[in-house]
Amino acid sequence: MFSIEVNHILKTYGKHAAVNDVSFDVNQGEIFGLIGPNGAGKTTTIRMMMDIIKPDSGDIKIMGEKLNDNSKNKIGYLPEERGLYKKMTVMDTIIYFASLKGVDAPLARQRGEELLKRADLLPHQNKRIEELSRGMSQIIQVIITVIHEPDLIILDEPFSGLDPVNTQLLKDLIRDLKNKGKTIIMSTHLMNDIEELCDRLLMINKGRAVLYGSLAEVKSNYRNNTVLVEAVGELGDIEGVTAQTPHNGGVELKLDAKTTPQMLLERLVKKGIVINRFELSTPSLTEIFIKVVGDEHE
């Protein structure tokens, strides 16, 4: 079963289409990345999934049905625009938001203490939110997002504003949640977060889906037929190689259309070259992102 099915959603503001005919599915138990430049329509898509704004057309199913009170309790949502009541204490905040998700106070307190302890914030539980640093209060927001142990967790730009320590804490938490079988959707404009964490991804640009699939698929589709080789001595001229560029102590070889990496390897071995490293160079998501977005611009 899909955790989320999004079918041809469209949302326009005036004449501007914020989200234009976007469709995707999210499998249960995976980490799904929603990427794209600022203003691409990520947050609008997520808000439509949360039924906070209604799409002009198209439909969204969450866990097989339209979003309702019951399924809302099974979702944890960390919005991009986020904040807390400044005057409330940490623990009261956790208990109040947990209660809105149907968790009673004693259980919320118990889970809250565990999560606070894990984030080293337990000593702050009786402080007011306004007394915390921005990073701390963002961790509290994450705790609120998962306090009701939701099956589906949606994180909109979760790492923005976090220091490296808290970023690592959050990444560990996300991996933990995945290991517990939870489905996680996260949006970001930072490609290395996606490469590090996500199983599948959807890239949107200017409201349209431009890339969709598993991380490996996307990368292989954008493979540029280059190989990274570290060898002892000079390589010299090799048949089928159109360009050689030094790269990280090795050489990046660009192959022509007829040559496969396998053929290159055979030729290098035949020439008697001692190879320390032979690697298909796949482009990073960043490179793909720049390429796709750049193409769109042209």
Partner: protein, 403 residues
Amino acid sequence: MNKTLLLIKHEFLGTVRRKAFIILTIAFPLIALLGILAGQVLPGMIKTTTTTEKVGFVDQVGIFTQNITENNIHLIPYSTEEAAKTALEQKDVTEYFIIPSDYISTGVIHIYTLTSEIAPGGTVQSAISDFLLNNLLKGNSEAVITRAKNPLNITSTTLTSGGTPASNQGGFSAFILPYIFSILLLLAIFTSSGYLLQGLGEEKENRVMEILLSSISPRQLLAGKVLGLGAAGLLQIIVWLISANFLLRMASASWGNVLGSLQITPEFLLLGIVYFILGYLLMAILMAGVGSISPTAREGQQMSVIFIMPVIIPFYFLPLILENSDSIAVRILTFIPLTAPITVMVRSGLSVIPVWELLISIGILILSVWGCFVLTTKLFRTYLLMYGKRPDLREIVRSFRAS
């Protein structure tokens, strides 16, 4: 627990724990209590002359022979003005007065004192007055003289067209209570709907809104906020009513002649509560609508004036309502939802409002509350998450149609 109930509880507790709310709720009974205590303590503090005061007089008419000593004022006759003046200079008397020969036709009395004063002291004046009357009415019976001093004790009864006494007798005391109460009503409506506006603004500024909306629907959010703060406002009104009842009983001891006849009738209480609830609901929902389209709490407060003005309008029409509480203009004010609560409160003190008028007024109010609720829910959905920009009128109308 139902999510709307949770919100109601959260908003209610959040409000009644506010310092400003507690202060305002206690302030009124406290101020009234101070007033009453002042009424009991002050008369004792005002110096009453226990020593006998001597006042001289010169009778140039020749009929004021009956000397009296009243309220510690001793009147001493002098045959000439010079003798009286000498007595004043030697401080035998504190003041003296002359009854000139043409007094009977003019009524003029000259009073001479050493200390300048705005008006002759009350006790002295009434002693002189009594002295003059006693002498003028010499020969009449004691009862006639007493009546002549106080000839008019009015009791008035308003009759219905059938000739039987009307149930609402009107008058100052019947009017003052609804008047005070309508001010309190206004205050309660404004404070709680003001908190709503402020709360929404803060939630927008704090960016809590989207987290809330991921758990609850805009409709639940609106209902929870309006009802939670309304419950706090109702609590405030109830505290005021209970303390008013208690204070009135205390007050009748010291301010008896003014407030003695004041009482809160069950009909008035019922009207007060019905109009508080409906008036508050309408105001709160309108404020929520304003809050949803204004980017900050401060801007929301500025915009809210549009709705606050009509609510106070009946106070500007007060002379009209007082003069003719059944006129067409006053009826129209009774039917307009925003002006109805205060108009009905003030009118109820003056005359009996026909039941059909009340029914229409309440009916219109209920319909407008419902209509505004539906429209505001739509506004909520569209604008709660728009930070930093305010939609223009055309966009708002479009969003009503769209959703």
